[in-house]
Structures are given as C-alpha cells and as structure tokens.
Subunit: 80 residues, 2 copies
C-alpha cells in the first residue's frame, strides 16, 4: 500500500525557510510573489494491505516522528 | 494566482533525509515501511493574473532557486 503524508505549518506559525525563499526570489528580481508556503510530502511504501492497519500506523508515525504536533498539521492519504 | 511547485529527487538520486526517516521509523518499531520518498511543495501567491506570465516566471524561479536541475525535477500547477 502507498501512503502520502502532507505536513504543513499551522496557520500563524512563522516558517523561516519560506520567508527566506520569498526574500531570495525578490532579490533575484521576482517582484510578483505575494506569499510563500511550504509543505513537506513524505511518500511511504507499506507492506500491509489492510487499510485500517495502515491508517493507525501512519497516525502513530506522524505523532512520533513525521510531524511536530505543536507547530505542524498533517494529512494522510492512502492508495492501493 | 496561486501556484504549486512540487520538487522531487530524480530517480536514482540518493535522498539521505528520506533514508534517515526510514531508519528512524524502523528504530521506533515501524517494521512495515518498505520505502520512503520526499517531495518539497512550495505554494506561491502571485500578483499576476496572466497564466502565460505566471508559467514563465515560475519556470525561471525553479531553474534559478527552487529546484536543483542536476538532482531534482519539478512540476508546476496553477489555480486562478
């Protein structure tokens, strides 16, 4: 089973790297950029074929490693 | 106009951070993970409303900053 985990900063949380990208684009002459946001996407190949097992495992992986629940939110999607 | 840039490593290019995630998941007891891949997603708010302008600007942004053409590929999508 293939899993896709999208991890983004919570609204209102400062993303220094996104800000740095915005400044760098401006310094390269791209004056058209009004906002920059970043999302981390982690794709996982899971041995299990059971959807419920995959979902609970992924939730635990996110809570323990892939996302920082204090400043990040995550979204999980599964494909057979 | 909103733009979404997805940047991934080219096939065959080693992604040390993805490997580290894989090892960390295994050490946390998640033995079900067979592969890990990462994608960087950068969302941009552009002032322009002209699609062709946005596309050419985004291509230049990717070539100059957002992606390393030697080891990464990128995919651009636009929404009004």
């Amino acid at each position: 089973m293939k899993a896709r985990v999208e991890v983004s900063f919570r609204d209102g949380v400062l993303d220094p790297e996104a800000q740095a990208i915005g400044r760098a684009l401006a310094s390269l002459g791209f004056g058209d950029v009004r906002g920059v946001r970043r999302t981390k996407v982690i794709e996982l190949d899971l041995a299990t074929t059971d959807r419920a097992t995959a979902e609970s495992e992924l939730k635990a992986m996110c809570e323990q490693l892939l996302a920082n629940p204090v400043i990040e939110t995550y979204r999980i999607s599964l494909t057979e």
